[in-house]
């Protein structure tokens, strides 16, 4: 389990494109569904790419919009205009 990072999002319409993007952009990611939320675990590093989410919703998605649907996280976070990255050892 060394270095698992995770992000938990609400499981709703707004979060769905974000969840899909994460699962697409992080092939090792694993989604665990529970009532109302989904916890996505990934070894070492997990990235949320604004470009991927934007492509799914047909408009510019600002990484700060994650604040609307995030429930929890594990790992250290870094944020810029293009992506959010969760990792350890940063």
């Amino acid at each position: 389990m060394a270095g698992i990072v995770s992000i938990t999002l609400q499981n709703n319409d707004e979060a769905r494109p974000v969840i899909e993007s994460i699962l697409h952009d992080n092939p090792s990611a694993n989604a665990n569904y529970m009532p109302g939320a989904v916890k996505i675990d990934c070894p070492e590093r997990l990235v949320v790419k604004a470009e991927s989410v934007s492509a799914r919703i047909g408009r510019d998605w600002d990484p700060q919009e994650i604040h609307l649907t995030i429930v929890s996280m594990g790992g250290s976070l870094d944020e810029d205009d293009e992506e959010l990255v969760l990792s350890w050892g940063a």
Binding site: G36, A37, V71, S76
Partner: protein
Amino acid sequence: MTPPRKKKLNLKKRYELMTRGLDWETSYQKMDDVFPYDTFEGIKITDWSKWEDPFRLTMDAYWKYQGEKERKLYAVLDSFAQNNGQLGISDARYVNAIKLFLTGVTPLEYQAHRHFAHLGRHIRGVGPRVAAQMQSLDELRHAQTQIHTISHYNKYFDGFAEFPHMHDRVWYLSVPKSFFDDACSAGPFEFFTAISFAFEYVLTNLLFVPFMSGAAYNGDLATVTFGFSAQSDEARHMTLGIEVIKFMLEQHPDNLPIVQQWVDKWFWRGHKMLGLVAMMMDYMLPKRIMSWKEAWEIYFTEAGGALFEDLSRYGLRVPKYADIATDEAEHISHQNWSIFYQYTQAAGFHTWLPSDEEMAWLSEKYPNTFDKYYRPRFEMWREMEARGERFYNNALPQLCQTCQIPMGYTEPGDPTRIGFRSTEYAGERYHFCSDGCKDIFENEPEKFSQAWLPVHQIFQGNCGGAELSDVLEWYHMKNGTDNMDYTGSPDQKQWDAWQSVRKRVAG
């Protein structure tokens, strides 16, 4: 094909310009007078500019996202109230978990609002100060959204109406209250370690994620909505927690032993307090999604494991007694529910014995302990109830001087023996439930000897009188309405009446 995303002023740079430069080195007043509290704990900070802002929200973005969350939340609350959402929950027993939440947790959110304002004013670095201010706002949000959500339940169920009055007085509510009083009376770096790191980062998931998911599973759309909406702020708070720890450890090697002692203390304090949540999850949710033990494995053993492995590069180790806490995850919910069952006459929510089906679930989830130690007890109590001899414990319990929980916990490795520890300080003897609680006292005896222990206070005549009825009156707890078993309570009668109409209509 969507067009390429528009570029704007780089987020990091923009945030730095908008925030960091606001501060100045005072010269008409000494900096140490403007910031009198951030040095006495011995934490050495050599360069505040090394602080990394984890989320870079300017105030306009904060208003925008938070305002949007609030719009959505209140739309759900309005619809829940208009549609009598309380009729859609799994069972009225569920509401008792929410009673414990409003009386035990909500006032802590308010305390957090206050003390993050304290940090938002008194920490010398601008980065953490702004983060603390936003958290102060968030915590006020949590207190108010919880009150507004539960306001609807208060209209239909007992046990909610006097929540602030009870929080300041009732015996088991001194457990969460003293926890937070402890943090707020500490210095700012200890508070950060206690609340932002140990609580928010390491432990709060246990409260908000599985429990709120449980609320959803039990049909409580209002609570799950505020719960997850609050959690979206929590993610920001968690990043503050981990950043504070790293920052202290990176700034000076002398900080490590101080921080380690705080991490040990607050992990243990948090573990004991969350025993109440353990009981809510294992006993108070009519439909269960996850046992406390499973939640502990996911959120402490696994997530905490990765966290402490990462922090080991600074020399920080896993909190002392983490192994014992993990061992206790097999017991704590059963032991706590037993305490409340015995003292139901003085509890502000209803109690009950688990049904056969529920006991089967507990056996399955706790194969090492439930059938061996706890099922026999519940079955005995059930037989006593059947004989009309429902067991009440009429002796006032001894409380642990540190965590303030009645001494009902067993020895590590021996679940048949109640653990007792004691120590002497300034000519008085003090009692504890565990080595963890005793260590905490011995590190700060002058602080913990001050504790307002509810049972001592009753004995000293400070709680309305010597009789149970006097104390209940002083608590503003209505005998026969707010307390005692669910079976026979006004809550139950009302719920059954609603259900019988529903059955008629559906049938």
